[in-house]
Symmetry: C2
Subunit: 204 residues, 2 copies
DNA sequence: CATTAAAATCGACACTGTGTAGACTTTCGG
DNA sequence: CCGAAAGTCTACACAGTGTCGATTTTAATG
């Protein structure tokens, strides 16, 4: 890997490699949509980026590494957004807002997110990224539940564990729905929101 | 594939191939646990079953086919059980019983079930098997919700859609928990049961 | 602007796993 | 006991992977 992780500080001119690297990730995303992870070959990736396999290995050590980088790019963008978004105070509003943001997220990045989920078992790096992302959500849900009056704590029927289950519910529902259509995603969102509200004791 | 699906009727002597086929599937299950799907090779499979690769291709056309057969075997066993299990009338009891059965299922077959879920995207055959299994659960959950007074119908806040979301919640929660430990699975079950009860309006 | 070290690229090679073909052996019903 | 079906093996052709050393391009610098 070239000029990677450590604070890339201010750089005068953009290295040619940076452009290529982006091209590779873009190609990766496109191929993932076209043929899926398994069918996608390192050769395809290189060809799509306009270089040979040999050259591609200069950037990424394997298909997995490339996809991991793609997931990292997407997930960072996702963290960015969640950091800069205001949190509502009133639970009902907070829930509605969170669900809407999540729908947007899946509409934009559904493909990469599904890929991340699929690979989080087999590629530890991706597993780590995704689990950190999930933790963000779980923490947020926990906070809302507690503010709505659900007992705090980590026992099976307290806020933390419930938040985890709700998070998985949303993940899986969106995973499936986002494969179908935007409408389906919207419907899934409504259902999940409803269950979340009930679980928070905000609907009777 | 040799003497497969169609009613195997009563057979005088068991074909040698039937034994071998079972051996292959058993080996497959063991290898899945040891090294996981990706790392498992057709050669490993053959070796584990005491034959050469060439011979293995007599039984299954590929690694995927073998795993599909393993999933089919497990899932059939699962359907069998759900068919012969009595359904309780009282919703609270029905929910508790269903959750307990599901815990048992995951304790026994967690590995294969996780594999099935992972591969249901990439292997259409497995996707079909698993989606049919999920439908069984969704139907059952729907019935319980309706008996508990949740409005019937397929709109996002009616029984059917809610059942689907709850099913995904359980699937995903169990998927993760069953990787950890039996205790974790039991705790996840409690949490899911709690949310199911609340969603059915039976607690609160 | 000539130099030069780093960055980027290429083609060829060795390796591993897949799936197929054809020949050989075992099993077992008639 | 004989012949067909069932089961097995070895050998091969092929795909994709990852590595290596040689070569070309880039861009900072004196």
């Amino acid at each position: 890997m070239p000029g990677r992780s450590p604070a890339r500080s201010r750089r005068a001119t953009e290295r040619k490699g940076d452009v290529r690297e982006r091209a590779i990730l873009d190609t990766c995303e496109a191929l993932l949509a076209q043929k899926g992870y398994d069918a996608m070959t390192v050769g395809d990736l290189a060809q799509g980026a306009g270089i040979t396999r040999g050259a591609l290995y200069f950037y990424f050590g394997s298909k997995q590494e490339a996809v991991t980088a793609l997931v990292a790019r997407t997930v960072e963008h996702l963290w960015e957004r969640s950091r800069t978004t205001a949190q509502a105070d009133e639970p009902r509003q907070a829930i509605a807002a969170a669900m809407q943001r999540t729908v947007d997220l899946w509409n934009e990045h559904g493909l990469v997110m599904r890929t991340a989920i699929d690979l989080s078992l087999t590629v530890p790096e991706i597993g780590e990224l995704w689990s950190r992302t999930a933790d963000l959500f779980i923490t947020a849900i926990t906070a809302v539940l507690e503010r709505a009056g659900v007992e705090a704590g980590t026992e099976p029927e307290q806020a933390s564990a419930m938040a985890r289950a709700l998070c998985w519910m949303i993940e899986r529902s969106f995973y499936h729905a986002s494969q179908e259509s935007r409408e389906e995603l919207q419907r899934a969102s409504s259902t999940c929101e409803h269950i979340w509200l009930i679980s928070a004791g905000l609907v009777g």
